[in-house]
Symmetry: none
Subunit: 220 residues, 4 copies
Amino acid sequence: MALNRSGPTKDRIRRAAVKLFADKGFHGTGIRDLAQEARLSSASLYHYVGNKEDLLAGIMRDALGALLTAAHEVVDGVADPVERLGRLVALHVITHAVQREETTVVDNEVRSLSAETRQPVVKLRDTYERLWTEAIRDGLRAGVFHTDRPSVTRLALLEMCNGVARWYSPGGALDLEQLAGHYARLALRAAGCTDPGAVPDLARCRAVVNTVWATAETGR
Amino acid sequence: MALNRSGPTKDRIRRAAVKLFADKGFHGTGIRDLAQEARLSSASLYHYVGNKEDLLAGIMRDALGALLTAAHEVVDGVADPVERLGRLVALHVITHAVQREETTVVDNEVRSLSAETRQPVVKLRDTYERLWTEAIRDGLRAGVFHTDRPSVTRLALLEMCNGVARWYSPGGALDLEQLAGHYARLALRAAGCTDPGAVPDLARCRAVVNTVWATAETGR
Amino acid sequence: MALNRSGPTKDRIRRAAVKLFADKGFHGTGIRDLAQEARLSSASLYHYVGNKEDLLAGIMRDALGALLTAAHEVVDGVADPVERLGRLVALHVITHAVQREETTVVDNEVRSLSAETRQPVVKLRDTYERLWTEAIRDGLRAGVFHTDRPSVTRLALLEMCNGVARWYSPGGALDLEQLAGHYARLALRAAGCTDPGAVPDLARCRAVVNTVWATAETGR
Amino acid sequence: MALNRSGPTKDRIRRAAVKLFADKGFHGTGIRDLAQEARLSSASLYHYVGNKEDLLAGIMRDALGALLTAAHEVVDGVADPVERLGRLVALHVITHAVQREETTVVDNEVRSLSAETRQPVVKLRDTYERLWTEAIRDGLRAGVFHTDRPSVTRLALLEMCNGVARWYSPGGALDLEQLAGHYARLALRAAGCTDPGAVPDLARCRAVVNTVWATAETGR
DNA sequence: AATGAATGAGAATTCATTCAT
DNA sequence: GATGAATGAATTCTCATTCAT
């Protein structure tokens, strides 16, 4: 039963690509680099993958899909906008810390996709960001946030959280939930939250990240 | 006085490189792309530039140099930590809005430098970030900021401001000083500033950005 | 009787190769193209065939063998050189019309064979062409043909008839025997035949083509 | 003055391509083969040529253009259909003998062109063949040719003449004008020409071929 | 009988760079 | 000051083929 063999190899390639695209960029990574990292000949790589761009597109789609799924799991049905934005921030931060390489690729390599491949990726991203937009909008309506230019605020908060992937390394002094809590506080304060005392359900966010990504990395 | 003739051409090359490195990345930009954008042959390029990496290193050094100079001009001698951090934020944001391409290169392409070339760049960056560190530290000591993990906060704020280069486009609804003011408010609130009512001297920041970059783009 | 099971598959491969070699050329056809056309994996192909060149050599040997056999059946014992040349032309034309792909491969891909493989193929072709040479020679001796440079004439007539495979498509306005008759007339006139009134036995030629190729496509 | 340098090199490449495409086919010829034959590195080849297909398309366009030009020069204003067809045959044969490689490429490699590139080539060829169609039609109307299915006859004669490139080698026993005269006789007889006694103006045909191709091989 | 996995060799093409003029 | 010519090394990707199962 060689059936489940293709899984591991394809995953090895995927992991190699994620790592190298994150560290050296799409254009900075050669097919030979990928093959070496995945312990295959470069010809064998093409047994599993159509081409370099397919690999990138697959990574981005899956990563954004996972993020979107996780966001819905964490936010759907939550009425309080403060809790909602707090959870989105925490989820985003935890994801960027735990899946540093995937999120780095997603955040940096959209431009490396061809127009046709880029489109669905951008659409996914837009769908995800809409959750942020709605949380902020509802908070403003409810009078718990205070900011003019809410869309600028949204962009600022998103970029702030994206940044985590650029410096966080696990095993530092800060554990994940502390990190997420810190960012949630920063974000809510920045949003003009009157009483950011309550902290979002960090454990929930972390658990969701774990299960969603466990699925993402198996279900291929 | 044919001496300063090389100036204009070299500037054209520099501008071409800044544009393309920002838009397509260092590895995504070919020498021929650069030559075409600068309207000369790729062979002629080598009259003005040692090689591709020199070009990148030059851009980064000058851009970071300008940022550091501007920061000192804006911050030195300012006692109030709130005003200091506010100005740093405003300056950083204005720079990322006005010099979008330069800052994009600085923020994304450090990894494309060789180890030796990278070192002085990183050092410059560290020197610059120390100004942020100090402002935050002083604000905490003075009791006007409230944040545990001040270095995490610093990183979060810096990344938030870096993000401006990823989405701002001049000619939008938001003018520069509004933008800078908005970000200053977000940042100070996030830092736990008790009374962020006072806004930093935005006009000063903007003026400094203008003069520093006018110099930077001529003095080559 | 599982013995003749390999027949069908091998035939499918053969047919695939004939089609693709004819349409895209030997070098323009990949092993994977062949496998796809034959509806099996490229690895399975190698169960039935030594390698790409074997496939080509087999096609050529069989096709030339069939042509030679048919020619003998049609010509042996026929004394009249006009009838003989007429039949050779008709047979050649019918074969090129009915077995367009096989003859295209034979006519175009000799150069793609390696030296050793090429030799027997060329020998077969020479043997076949000798029948034409003899018919023309006998017609000249008998005073029914008139042409100096008979070998140039032979080459001209052969190429004229080869051409049929380049444009004839079944189902056109012209049926096979009309086509063959037309070419026989052209050829005999060109050979300076004084009275080309009598037409060769086209039905015989056609029947022989049919039986010979029925055998050729089964007896593998 | 390095200006006229690019001429010779580009011509060397063209000649190499013509030779190799003729002898080994488009798909049988590698870029490295071409470079070696043209005494360049394969990278240098791309200094002069866009890609392999451009090279092929250029050869085909120029060769067909030359053939068409020559045909017009030889046939325009000639009223007698016998002389006209005779000249077309002679011209075609001489061209296939003298420019064996070019015509071989034209006759065999149309299929190797991509759809867009193929179109203009096919159009040129059609324009050229129309001259044959008209000569035959006029001869039939004038009652000097006798053939039903004139378009089949046209195809047969064209292929007969194409064949020359497959076997003729200069320096054989047969000189060019003898060859052309022989083919003209064969063709006119095949066309049912009642009195093929008169031979077309072979010297004229030959001269036109020479001048047209001298231009073709310089005017690049 | 059949195939997924694997690969070394080679395909076409692009790269950054040098140099003679 | 400027560039056409040139190239070795590298690029992405395909090739025909083998082999374990």
